[in-house]
């Protein structure tokens, strides 16, 4: 049988193409990325209005508020992660690729983090000032967000893959993902609170790093498996 000559390329170039595609799509219709950021800002603004504009009260709450707002904002942006691909048939092309699916999925999740979690991290100092977070806790907040938001994207993407065929699956996605977010929230706010009291918080940071490493290793396998099973 006549075999066709193949130009060998590695999976990384497919990943790069996928990242480039998703970033281009985000730039062409930036609403998808901007809405969660506006939501992040709005939620954090509601707390001084709803509770008390006191400096003491707000600085106590700041870490929790910023983290919960970030978590919800990431959830908001997760719904369309695989659903848009499913809607236009691009998901079939992803599944038919000869490259390892977990690798391709990791590229997609990375792009999602870049357009959601990373942007939220960049916005966090603004919110921290708004909520009177003590200056000594700033670095702790930034480090926990940098380590924690990729975990939110990775864990949430499992839920997004499982609900890819569910119409209006946003609430279901939230219910699936929030339990996975609890450990991240506990250790991240714990680190910021420890930093506010001038206590060492490296233990929390190490735990967050462990979550991130586990997420990078295991979540793509779960996401790939879920996509294969769900997209029958």
């Amino acid at each position: 049988m006549a075999r066709f000559e193949k130009t060998s390329m590695n999976g990384l170039s497919a990943c790069a193409a996928l990242i480039r595609r998703d970033l281009t799509l985000t730039f062409r219709s930036p609403g998808q990325a901007i809405n969660p950021m506006a939501f992040f800002l709005m939620v954090a603004t509601l707390f001084p209005l709803g509770i008390a504009p006191d400096r003491e009260v707000l600085s106590e709450l700041a870490a929790g508020v910023i983290w919960i707002a970030a978590l919800l904002a990431v959830l908001l942006s997760l719904d369309s992660l695989f659903k848009s691909d499913q809607d236009d048939g691009a998901l079939d092309q992803l599944l038919m690729s000869p490259h390892p699916l977990p690798l391709l999925v990791l590229a997609k999740v990375f792009t999602h983090w870049l357009t959601s979690g990373f942007c939220l991290t960049l916005m966090a100092p603004l919110l921290a000032i708004m909520l009177h977070l003590p200056a000594e806790a700033f670095s702790a907040l930034m480090v926990t967000l940098l380590l924690g938001t990729p975990v939110l994207s990775l864990a949430g993407a499992i839920g997004a893959a499982l609900t890819v065929k569910v119409q209006r699956g946003g609430v279901l996605l939230t219910l699936l993902s929030l339990p996975l977010y609890i450990p991240v929230l506990i250790f991240a706010t714990g680190a910021v609170n420890a930093a506010m009291q001038n206590m060492p918080y490296s233990g929390h940071i190490l735990w967050l790093s462990v979550f991130l490493l586990l997420g990078i290793c295991l979540a793509p396998l779960a996401i790939a498996g879920a996509l294969r099973v769900i997209n029958e």
Binding site: M1, A2, R3, F4, E5, K6, T7, S8, M9, S13, A14, A16, A17, L18, R20, R21, T24, L25, R28, S29, D87, D88, G89, A90, D92, Q93, L94, L95, M96, S97, P98, H99, L104, N231, E232
Partner: protein, 227 residues
């Protein structure tokens, strides 16, 4: 070579087809026919490895397909009902990511030539959201032209294609087959068998039992209606 042995597929407690066996050798075009809901799309998705709800064996180059999926995917181009294009991207950008994902290195010139072949020259930098349904299909066909896959699996490729495009696509199939490729296509359109390399397979003949039952049931229903 694709070898399907004793394949059966059940969906929602309904046997779509059973004991389906066929071979697809290089240089052949196989058209799957069947009425709506006969399981044409299910069959293609099973062969493409997108669905695993089946019983039976699939062989690719006389090896079990499940073991050589990576090789198979290198050699296979799948085009489903939806063309798999991002509407916010231009045809050129869409072709670029798809060829990268399918592991075929195609230069910008190659992709432009492919677009020219599907009569979309001049449209390469226009967002796909501005193209018509038929033009979107043609963009997907440009991916087909640019791909180096030997097995083409196409689900209803003639949807939204004009008469001239149908003849052109048939010519493309013939050309691919004459180069030793394989085409597996579902269509309600009867393809013209120009070079004698076209075979047809009706799915209904592999669902005989289910149909007899259904026919009896319908007849009873009709009788009751008359009484």
């Amino acid at each position: 070579m694709l070898n399907v042995v004793q394949l059966s597929c059940e969906r929602d407690d309904r046997l779509l087809f059973s004991n389906l066996s066929f071979k697809l050798c290089s240089g052949e075009i196989l058209q799957i026919e069947g009425r709506n809901g006969a399981g044409k799309t299910s069959l293609l998705r099973i062969i493409a490895g997108l669905s695993s709800s089946y019983a039976g064996d699939l062989f690719w180059n006389s090896q079990p397909l499940a073991k050589v999926y990576a090789d198979f995917r290198l050699d296979c181009f799948f085009l489903g009902h939806k063309p798999g294009l991002k509407l916010d991207l231009t045809p050129l950008e869409n072709l670029a990511w798809r060829s990268r994902l399918a592991n075929t290195a195609v230069s910008r010139e190659g992709l432009l030539a492919a677009l020219h072949r599907v009569h979309l020259a001049g449209y390469e930098d226009i967002p796909c959201s501005h193209l018509s349904a038929g033009q979107l299909r043609r963009v997907a066909f440009a991916g087909l032209v640019a791909s180096q896959a030997s097995l083409w699996i196409l689900d209803e490729p003639f949807t939204a294609i004009d008469a001239e495009g149908v003849a052109w696509l048939e010519g493309l199939f013939d050309e691919h087959a004459s180069q030793g490729g394989m085409v597996l296509v579902t269509s309600h359109q009867s393809l013209s068998n120009l070079k004698g390399n076209l075979r047809k397979l009706r799915l209904e003949t592999f669902a005989a039992e289910a149909y007899i039952e259904e026919a009896v049931f319908e007849k009873r229903g009709a009788d009751n209606g008359q009484v």
